[in-house]
């Protein structure tokens, strides 16, 4: 069984989260949407991490002007106050299940306390203009991240959308050799994490990456405090690598 007519769906994260915050180029989603439409393949948009304001919009794919056939979400739906996930389907799929059995169920599907928490959470996003704050703080965050990339030898790349961001750490800015191997860690990454912990900054790191994804209600002063600690930790890494932080490295040969 080969060929596009055997494919039910293409499932993608709106913006890839825990594998390195990969923000697609602007034409990626329109082209993926067109590809799916051409072959009758459903586009499933996993917005579990990126969804509901993290990037400044309800869904990350809304930045790219496309509509998926199915959206899945969870985390940003209730902010975690109660456990809840959702599968949101297009009119066409909803119509299919009007006359066909939905072979699935969960005892806690539609749990009233979870749903009430989600209703309140979505209302807070609107009433308190949380997404506007994401855009505002996101601008400050991105300017700081770009400055860190210029200043510290160990920062190979920074990627961000709203308050969804990552620093990719390297041993060498030119070769982009990762500070820790894929699916591994290194003494330098250990030092980075230990420094953040010693300063009581709770942050997620994996392989050679450090995520900066604070609550969406953060203010600039709080963001500044945390980023100052991140900056100290980067200095620790540069020192461990024997690199000078202020040196301006030449651009990698194969500039992207």
């Amino acid at each position: 069984m080969e060929g596009p007519h055997t494919i039910a769906a293409i499932m993608v994260e709106g913006i890839t989260g825990s594998n390195g915050l990969l923000v697609p180029p602007d034409d990626y989603y329109p082209k993926l949407r067109a590809l799916c439409d051409k072959y009758g393949i459903l586009l499933i948009d996993d917005e579990v991490m990126a969804g509901f304001g993290r990037t400044g919009k309800w869904l990350a794919t809304q930045h790219f002007g496309i509509k998926p056939d199915i959206v899945t979400c969870a985390k940003g739906l209730t902010s975690g106050y109660m456990p809840l996930g959702a599968v949101i389907v297009s009119d066409k799929i909803a119509k299919y299940f009007e006359t066909n059995m939905l072979w699935g169920g969960l005892t806690y599907s539609g749990h009233p306390v979870c749903c009430a928490a989600a209703v309140a959470n979505l209302r807070i996003y609107e009433e308190e203009k949380v997404f506007e704050n994401v855009e505002k703080q996101g601008r400050y965050l991105s300017s700081r991240l770009e400055a860190l990339k210029k200043k510290y030898a160990c920062v190979g790349d920074v990627r961000y959308k709203g308050l969804f961001s990552v620093l990719e750490l390297v041993k060498d800015k030119v070769t982009r050799e990762p500070l820790a191997p894929f699916n591994g860690t290194s003494p330098e990454m250990g030092k980075l994490a230990a420094h953040l912990k010693s300063k009581h900054l709770y942050a997620f790191s994996r392989f050679n990456m450090l995520w900066v994804c604070p609550p969406l209600i953060i203010n600039e002063e709080e963001l500044r405090q945390g980023l100052d600690i991140v900056e100290e930790a980067l200095q620790v890494v540069d020192t461990a690598l024997g690199k000078s932080s202020v040196a301006q490295p030449r651009e990698p040969v194969a500039a992207r």
Partner: protein
């Protein structure tokens, strides 16, 4: 850490399992309370949360409107089976249609379950079997959603659920390809000149 906090951590370590951890190496921080972007540990030390816990605590800790809404619903009705209609369920479904532009919602308890059900619904609605996902992706830790993930965490469930393929979905336009080639050629000639 005081004796009470030590006991809390010890009980957690002795009687519960921590996700994605070699259990003997897990070293949990006790969380006693939280407020906004901050939380306090067993030593009453304040931490700044730069990862929203697991990138989920969007409105921060202990938002008063969240506490109020949950308490109100708890007082009114804590549980109804999945076949019943309730006020918050309908209101949420309507709101989700409004903000996504889609039609209807099926509720689960988390992201993994949502993806499992999305895959099942896509197969039912199309009558097709294959699910294509991306290399370097994560869709959840249950058998199906983990199989769909392009992540080393999948290896623990391999061979997993049949019919799912994590691969590179590259969409490169001819124009972009031409730009890249041009840049590569320029780089090579610049290097040769040196």
């Amino acid at each position: 850490m005081d004796a009470k906090s030590l006991k809390v951590v010890q009980e957690n370590r002795d009687y519960t399992m921590f996700s994605w951890s070699v259990q003997g190496a897990s070293n949990p921080i006790q969380m006693k309370r939280g407020q906004g972007v901050w939380f306090w540990d067993g030593d009453d030390q304040r931490w700044l949360d730069f990862s929203s816990q697991l990138i989920n605590l969007n409105v921060g800790h202990q938002h008063p409107k969240m506490l109020e809404a949950i308490k109100k619903q708890v007082d009114e009705l804590c549980f109804a089976g999945p076949g019943f209609a309730t006020e918050p369920r309908g209101a949420l479904g309507k709101k989700l249609s409004e903000v996504t532009g889609l039609a209807k919602t099926f509720f689960t308890l988390g992201g993994s379950e949502a993806n499992e059900n999305a895959i099942k619904m896509a197969r039912l609605a199309t009558g097709r079997e294959k699910i294509i996902t991306r290399y370097r992706s994560y869709h959840g830790a249950t058998m199906g959603s983990m199989t769909a993930s392009g992540d080393p965490r999948r290896w623990a469930v391999d061979p997993g659920v049949p019919g799912m393929f994590a691969c590179s979905i590259l969409i490169v336009t001819v124009a972009r390809l031409a730009r890249r080639l041009k840049r590569a050629i320029a780089n090579v000639s610049a290097t040769l000149k040196k």
